[in-house]
């Protein structure tokens, strides 16, 4: 028994020797925590790159230039940094923003907080904006992307960029996430998801940029409607310009959703 105790004591001594050396004999380095996301490394981004990301989103994923362009569908944003301060003092301003950055954030997620005169939905007396919430619907910006767009707006309008690069990264590339989404159940959901009502009168929504679709089924067949969604510029309704409607729906919608939407419109006859 004494032998056993001796050996056990010796073994414990050896183990504690190794343990002690590992704990106190060598410098303790804390390995870096795993990166939050694997895709975009925001931590290594400079502000210029962040602004570049904002521009990319403004032109691309955000589809902002569809309306915010020289055609006058929506206000131009080239001086937004300067005018934002005035807007917050305007009597019609309903938001809670205190700074330009907050104002921009608000106008991106709650566009109706301030509607520039003449750009509101018809019949609402400029109290409601036709612009969708950029964090929802078909745009689906995350926090980083929204902030990047704000940084871009501040930068391009010549005012000071106050946005900080968020620590959190945007989600992995689209497609991966979209592919796993279940198809939508009804045409109304499809319309809501893709923000059709932002431009068209459809399903109770009152957009004005595109043709009125409430009675479209009376005059157009399914063939035409399907083409109008997949290739909007093929035939342009009278009084409207080509190039307004995004050509992205063929990629974004599932076949089933497209058919539901076509059937819905073809059925809207009165």
């Amino acid at each position: 028994m004494t032998n056993f105790l001796k050996v056990a004591f010796f073994s414990l001594l050896v183990i504690s020797g190794f343990w002690g050396f590992s704990n106190f004999g060598i410098p303790q380095i804390k390995p870096a925590d795993p990166p939050v996301e694997e895709k975009v490394d925001l931590g290594a981004m400079t502000m210029d790159q962040f602004i570049a990301l904002g521009k990319k989103n403004f032109d691309g994923k955000g589809t902002c230039t569809l309306c915010h362009n020289a055609l006058g569908r929506a206000p131009m944003l080239d001086k937004i940094g300067a005018v934002a301060a005035e807007r917050m003092k305007d009597a019609r301003y309903k938001g809670a923003a205190k700074t330009v950055e907050e104002y921009l954030m608000e106008s991106l997620v709650k566009p109706s907080a301030f509607v520039v005169a003449g750009f509101g939905k018809s019949g609402t007396n400029d109290t409601e904006s036709p612009m969708p919430d950029v964090t929802g619907g078909s745009i689906g910006f995350n926090e980083a992307e929204t902030k990047a767009v704000i940084a871009y707006l501040q930068d391009s309008s010549g005012s000071e960029v106050t946005v900080e690069i968020p620590k959190m990264a945007p989600p992995p590339a689209e497609g991966a996430a979209k592919a796993e989404e279940a198809p939508l159940k009804t045409a109304e959901e499809v319309i809501a998801r893709h923000g059709c009502g932002g431009c068209h009168k459809i399903a109770g929504q009152t957009g004005e940029m595109g043709p009125d679709l409430t009675r479209i089924g009376a005059t157009r067949n399914k063939e035409y409607l399907r083409q109008a969604i997949l290739d909007p510029d093929a035939v342009i309704a009278k009084g409207f310009t080509a190039g307004m409607m995004p050509k992205i729906y063929g990629e974004q919608m599932k076949a089933k959703e497209l058919e539901m939407l076509v059937n819905y419109m073809a059925g809207s006859k009165k």
Partner: protein, 631 residues
Amino acid sequence: MLTRNMKITCGAFLLAVFAMFMQPALMPAANASEAAATASSVASAPAAMPAPAASAAAAPATAAAPAAHAVTYPPAPKLTAADYPTIPGVNSRVAVWLVAQLHLWFGAFVVAVPMFVFIIEAIGMATRDERYDNMAYEFIKVSITAYSLTAILGGLLSFCLILFYPDLFKYMALIFKGSMWAYALLFFAESAVLYIYYYGWHWLQGGNKKWVHLTLGLLLNAVGCLLMFLANAWTTFMMSPAAVDAAGVFNGDTWAAIHNFLWNPINIHRVVANVAYGGSIVGAYAAFKFLSAQKKEERAHYDWMGYNANFIAIAALLPLPFAGYYLTAELYAYSQQMGITLMGGVFAWIFIIQAVLIGALFLSANYYLWCGMGRSEGAYRYNPRIKYIAIVLVVAFLVWFTPHTLVLTNSELKDLGGPYHKYLGVLGIMPAKNTAVNYLLVFTFLSFMFYRRANKVATVSWAAAGNAAQIALFTAGLINITILGVYHGYFTNTVYKVAASIPQVLTTLVIIIVSTIIDAFMYKGAKDVAPLHWGRMPPRSQYALFLLAVSFTWLMGLMGYVRSGIRQHWHISNIFRDGSPDAFTPGLGYVANIVSIGTIMFMAMVIFVFWLSTISGKHVVAKGYWKEQQA
């Protein structure tokens, strides 16, 4: 007579070690057919069954691919912390870590023991020396309970994985379902062969029966290795996934997943390390029995057993650095990112700990050999030389230990004029360390040679010439190692720096092999100087054996962490991200805590296993307890 046996042991063992090197190279033939068979048994399309499965090595595996394609594999899930079930008060990573490590320790032990039991049994048959047979039986006897413990721990491990990491388990199980099924079957085979081998030991004696028994031993080893290789495949798949696209969709067959980039390097490394580890554990057993032995014969027996166990451990320890080097080189080849993470980043310090542990292994093994010279008076003439070996060992070890990044106080930093040390910095990089390791190996071998010839005088006529040849061989070899290390290490570019390590290794191996051969002939019929007394060993030499076993266990735990840790925050490298709160890479102090706890748990369980082997022989006559039976 005994020394001749020693020579045979030595030669046979070295051969066996080299044979093990070859084994994985031959494996694809066996596994391809196995994989093909399982792939077809799983797949829904029976038409894909490859015709003659065993005919060619790689062909059946590729032919089976369409069969595997019949199953569609999902992409690797993207998990968040909520996807990991938790039990309050249980840290799931630590639980899995400890169970996996314990499973591995026992697994290594039980895979290793039959290997040298087989060799010892064969030696016994060749020499007709019954002591070898008895020793082989004792080795298997003391480890028998360890088999069921390995299985229990393996079951516990999969239970823990299912419980704490269900999505990972599901993903892995789908890819490996073919081999998991084979794994289960092999486990039955392993148990069956083991029990026949063990319980039939005294039944299958003499003549042809003994041959049958030896064949069973070979079969046991084959099944054991196959089991380990299959388990290795799962581990290496997590490190170097094969046949998956960027999203983690698996598009190959089971064989493709098994035969991933790091599979063979790990197989080789583990086989060699297991033998060394198994040797050190049974050495500790013998040491304990020696210390508690009362009778003189008992002491002699366990001294002899401890000597053999230490010999096994050293013989396998010698090629181990090379197997490790090969593994690291392959790791670099697979992913430079992983390689630099391993050697240059956070983990760099782990190799300093490793250096300390391996230093402890080499020093204790040498010390045991030196103490062993006390077994006979004839060896005293060699004693004065020991201190020179010790000096070389310590110096080589200090070079090996010198870190690349020195820990400097601010005043030292100022004095040196920067974090670089002009002279010590030179010792911090690989060429110096490779050279030092080769010196360690050559001089450990020299210790062993001294021990072997200490009590002998060669009687052959060419003894003087033979000695001169050996001295020349050692000198030339050491000069070659030094030149290779210094010249190629510091005066050529990095390609040669890395490449120079291979001729260094070969030089060491040539020294070892050639002088073993010369010795074998030169000491044929040599006469003893004085009688050899087994059992005349100081108790402190036995503690060297304990140090060997404990250091080895701890070292395996540490290196197991490194192997797993270089994946960092991935379950499966760059494919399947670890989304759990435990995805962080722990610091070395934390690792040392876990490894120490694991080592203590393992030691306690091993003591239990050894104790069980002793109680089966005990027989207590409880007088007056049983009713008297009327005759």
